[in-house]
């Protein structure tokens, strides 16, 4: 009878900033089951939202998650605009697009760096975060802050762009584009990366569809869903761009989808900066009548869904926030079962789980035998060792 051990993932690994509580049940070297306990990061932000006024809420929900910090407020203001029927000026729609695509770039490059670390390519980590800096600089010039932009407001955009800022953002895009192109080619051709990531953590299209997966996690499995195209918002239906999908649903494809989406983001940004229409950036909104509204946007991790109820009062009666990771994390059960332990960290990372969005928690649970268990650091080391073995094999 094979011995079942529980391997907790976490708690406080330096490169996995957030706390999450995963229990993996393994038999030998293979994962046979998985469970997740949330709570650690749960702050009760939906309750906070209900105690604020309509115009205060965007500042609160920006802080649901630092990396999707522009997506949550946009989803919220769109939901409220559905309730009050506000027509957002064209210029504001473009500015919303610019802020959110810059966020996509910084988020995907951040992910790429972390993923590189998990499999032992530390140069990838350093490279990705170095070339993320121009996008953060662009956001800082546009909004005054590298993260938490305070741009989206009910009825429009708080920030405006003058020609100097437009030029600055374009220059920052130039700084990212060439290294990105070079990197995409290298990554796609690197034999070690291929061997390490192909066929790992496969999410089948059926599982993706059944579980409601969204974002690159779904698109890497071939599901052509993207809120920007399916239910267009901001200026996405006014610029040319492509939805990126792949076919195998493995970690490699998820990485490719994110890299190519970063390229598409640059493409969208160049058009938005070029075509930025003149005009006001806000439509005055005096009050929000009773009603309900849906606001959803394609955050870097997938669809962020907000549902807002108004009873005509000074703030939301109810504000439901569902981040993409909430629906994507359960797919980890489908992708990690049957995997060797060495692949667990990269499989989990491939979902790009944003724990703050999901409100997760981390605790070390003891196995039924009471034995010392592996911690997250051990799992990362295992993953990096596997890459080393592959590298030696390829170079031999």
């Amino acid at each position: 009878m094979t011995h079942r051990t529980i391997i907790p993932i976490g708690p406080y690994h330096p490169l996995q900033e957030e706390a999450e509580f995963f229990q993996l049940f393994v038999e030998g070297e293979t994962v046979v089951d998985m469970d997740v306990r949330l709570s650690y990061n749960h702050r009760g932000i939906e309750g906070v939202s209900m105690k604020r006024t309509w115009d205060q809420v965007p500042y609160a929900v920006e802080r649901v998650c630092g990396i999707c910090s522009a997506s949550h407020p946009l989803a919220y203001v769109q939901a409220v605009e559905e309730i009050c029927g506000a027509k957002v000026p064209e210029r504001a729609l473009y500015i919303r697009t610019i802020v959110n695509e810059l966020e996509r770039i910084h988020s995907h490059l951040l992910w790429f760096g972390l993923a590189g670390h998990f499999i032992g390519f530390n140069t990838v980590f350093m490279w990705a975060w170095r070339y993320r800096e121009p996008s953060l600089d662009a956001l800082e010039v546009v909004s005054g802050s590298r993260i938490n932009y305070a741009n989206h407001t009910v009825g429009g955009s708080r920030l405006d762009l003058d020609p100097e800022k437009v030029k600055y953002v374009s220059e920052k895009l130039d700084e990212i584009e060439r290294p990105l192109d070079m990197f995409i080619t290298t990554a796609l051709e690197d034999p070690v990366l291929s061997l390490r990531l192909k066929g790992v953590g496969v999410l089948t299209p059926e599982a993706a569809r059944l579980l409601g997966a969204v974002g690159p996690t779904a698109r890497a499995s071939g599901l052509p869903i993207d809120v920007r195209r399916d239910d267009p918002y901001a200026a996405y239906d006014r610029v040319d761009w492509d939805v990126i999908t792949a076919t195998h649903g493995d970690v490699f494809d998820k990485a490719v989808v994110r890299l190519l989406e970063t390229k598409e983001a640059i493409r969208i940004l160049r058009q938005a900066l070029r075509d930025l229409p003149d005009g006001p950036i806000q439509t005055p909104v005096k009050e929000i009548p009773p009603g309900e509204g849906v606001g959803h946007v394609e955050a870097p991790r997938g669809e962020t869904f907000h549902f807002v109820k108004s009873n005509g009062g000074p703030g939301p009666e109810r504000h439901k926030i569902r981040a993409p990771s909430y629906i994507n994390i359960p797919t980890f059960k489908a992708t990690c079962i049957g995997q060797p332990i060495a692949d667990v960290t990269i499989t989990l990372a491939a979902i790009d789980p944003c724990y703050s969005c999901t409100e997760r928690m981390l605790v070390v649970r003891d196995a039924d035998s009471g034995k010392e268990l592996m911690d997250f650091g051990d799992l990362v080391r295992l993953s990096q060792q596997k890459t080393e073995q592959i590298r030696k094999f390829v170079l031999s």
Binding site: Y12, E17, I67, M126, W129, Y355, L362, V363
Partner: protein, 147 residues
């Protein structure tokens, strides 16, 4: 002496190992902490190293509001940390509670939770939402300079 000189000085005198604890944060502060490792800020050249365990830590970098679920764990980590240990409250959430003062899962603030375990704990505050990496470096340098 500029801030950078002072940082280099204590980097030579002492190479602080810092352990990062997220007690329920939005991740902004945490990402900016990781920024410190990247080439642009590169705190490793200044001697700052991320510790893999609280037992090796000279300083705890604490982010987040200290949620109800995180509370006992934060206290446990503080107990495990080698003493003396500087507690750095990073960001508005850790300093006070930020915008979560009336959130139902708020069980902080961080300094109160730590002082329950050790009333004489050394705590410094680096405000911001998030504090810029430069602010973090400056804050830690100032704190270590004052010690």
């Amino acid at each position: 002496m500029t801030v950078l000189d002072r940082v280099k000085l204590w980097g030579l005198k002492k190479s602080p190992w810092v352990y990062h604890v997220n007690t329920g944060a939005c991740n902004n502060c945490d990402i900016e902490v990781l920024e410190l490792l990247t080439p642009r800020f590169d705190v490793e050249r200044l001697g700052v190293v991320l510790a893999a365990s609280p037992r090796h830590a000279d300083a705890l970098l604490v982010t987040g509001i200290c949620t109800r679920q995180a509370r006992p764990r934060l206290q446990e980590i503080y107990r495990q940390a080698a003493k003396p240990c500087l507690v750095v409250c990073l960001g508005a959430c850790a300093c006070t509670s930020g915008i979560f003062y009336d959130a139902w899962h708020f069980a902080g603030p961080v300094d109160k939770v730590v002082r329950e375990v050790d009333p004489d704990a050394k705590i410094i505050y680096i405000p911001g939402c998030p504090p810029k990496p430069e602010a973090m470096i400056a804050g830690i340098a100032k704190a270590l300079g004052d010690l």
